[in-house]
Symmetry: C2
Subunit: 158 residues, 2 copies
């Protein structure tokens, strides 16, 4: 990890710097990414925020789940899931069904409309990918995706 820029910093009497850190890079690039994604969603004019999409992804990922389970998966307060689900239900993207086995639980499922919406989000995601990583070589892009995949897996994320 001692590359040319580090050597330059050292010559200037400085440490490598926080900017060479993984957390820092991930943090800043993460904000940029969600920022752009937010704008792309705004273009849909459906009042969607990244968290709405996060909920749909969580729904799509596993078996039908209660709102509490979803909140846990998303690392978010259950009360937030309520409002997210409210909005998605209003859009017809999500369906709330009382679990007959336990009538306290609301089982959320993605409707066909929700699938279509999620597909649109995915398309937007790919566009942004091209925009972001357009100047990376195929190999670089592959390495990046793979490394991020490892990281996510290591942290127990989707």
């Amino acid at each position: 990890m001692s590359d040319a820029s580090d050597a330059h910093d050292a010559a200037a009497g400085r440490l490598p710097g926080l900017t060479s850190t993984l957390v820092f890079k991930l943090g800043t690039l993460g904000t940029v990414a969600t920022d752009r994604f937010t704008r792309a969603l705004d273009a849909f004019e459906l009042g969607l925020k990244p968290k709405h999409v996060g909920l749909m992804v969580a729904l799509d990922a596993g078996a039908a789940a209660s709102q509490q389970e979803l909140a846990a998966r998303m690392g978010v307060a259950p009360s937030l899931v309520v409002s997210l689900a409210d909005h998605l239900e209003q859009l017809g993207a999500v369906q709330r069904v009382r679990d007959p086995q336990d009538r306290r639980r609301q089982v959320l499922t993605l409707t066909d409309e929700g699938r279509r919406l999620l597909d649109r989000c995915e398309a937007a995601g790919h566009e942004l990918d091209a925009e972001l990583a357009g100047e990376l070589t195929g190999a670089q892009r592959r390495a990046l995706t793979e490394a991020l995949q490892h990281l996510a897996a290591h942290l127990g994320l989707p």
Copy 2:
């Protein structure tokens, strides 16, 4: 990017999924990263948030700058820089000096105390890096850092 998991999804009648997207990965991992960094800063008990560190990094990166320039660099409203600088000044990490050439401008500089503080943040960053990427091979980690570097450079970030 058609790998095994994509093939699996396709077999299940699904598209590759938003989760295979770069924006999505960057977004989620970015939140995790800033989340952990925030907690690390909390341990300092100085009331610091990632944006404070961002300001210090911006100060450290270039020549002495006015608050407007810093706001532009950080992609943030000038009024926010005021409160960030207020707090850092109160900690003795930053110094405000009126530019004699243009007495409207406040020139911010990092004090020695600020440097020490920034070093502590960097140390925390490296700890988190070890925690995050501990299970990656050296080559993977190098590839990741390099790719993120490319991305950041392409977007005009530090």
